[in-house]
Amino acid sequence: MNKVLKILIVLNDLDEKLKIFKDQKYREIFNISSKMIETWEKKRENEFKKLPIEVQENYERLRKRYGFGLASVTEGSCNNCNQKLPTFMLAIKNPNKELLTCPNCGIYIIL
């Protein structure tokens, strides 16, 4: 798998965890403290720094726009914008070895 894509998967996971930590009810059910959140914010920061600058900027821009910067593909369609990907993209052997974006919405994709 592409190195940057691997980092994006981890980063996306951290972002989703931090998002859910904001929910009071969730914090109560699972006993999440402010200290735990701080630790994971630092982890997120460290992971983010591993990305090339242009990917950092793009990822943050996508997050602001869509709420996340990475999406999967189902039956040939991007799970963010629901548009079909071009046939040549779907025909790529080992597609996750490359860092691909959806030609329609620009989100990073994992096939």
Partner: protein, 150 residues
């Protein structure tokens, strides 16, 4: 809500695992996903457990994650009669697991609502241990659905 997510093929009434990571793998294995994606989901779940156990006590755990590699909400229920050490908050073995995995694309906050619902059902389950006796997947689903309405 749970009715849509509970499927007989995603109910494991006799978990064989005895360790924390193994039980997560056993639960993830049921998902109809390619191996590479299952591995990512498993890693995500393990990382969540590092924050703090999702064993909420009284024999119940709710491991969960939201991942970009998923395209829908999955719920897997697993039961271990023997119980598994899951570092639960009350340090007691866990007998019932609700694995919830979803896509980050969740405009109706279904993921959070479902997590809340499961936690609510878990409180009822901990008072009534009938779930340890049922031996049929469909009956087990009916039982969980009946608790949701109570």
């Amino acid at each position: 809500m749970l009715k849509e997510l509970l499927k007989p093929e995603r109910i494991i009434l006799n978990l064989v695992s005895t360790k924390k990571e193994d039980v997560l793998k056993e639960l993830v294995d049921v998902l109809d996903l390619p191996e590479e994606k299952k591995k990512i989901v498993l890693e995500t779940l393990i990382k969540r457990e590092e924050i703090g156990s999702t064993g909420i006590g009284k024999g119940i755990a709710i491991p969960h994650c939201r991942s970009a590699i998923l395209d829908k909400v999955y719920l897997v229920v697993g039961r271990s009669k023997k119980g598994i050490d899951f570092d639960a908050i009350d340090n007691k073995p866990v007998h019932l697991f609700f694995l919830l995995c979803a896509s980050p694309r969740d405009p109706e906050s279904r993921y959070l609502i479902t997590l809340g619902k499961i936690a609510e059902i878990s409180r009822k389950l901990s008072r009534d241990k009938k779930y340890m006796k049922i031996e049929d997947e469909n009956e087990f689903i009916e039982y969980l659905i009946s608790l949701e309405g109570k």
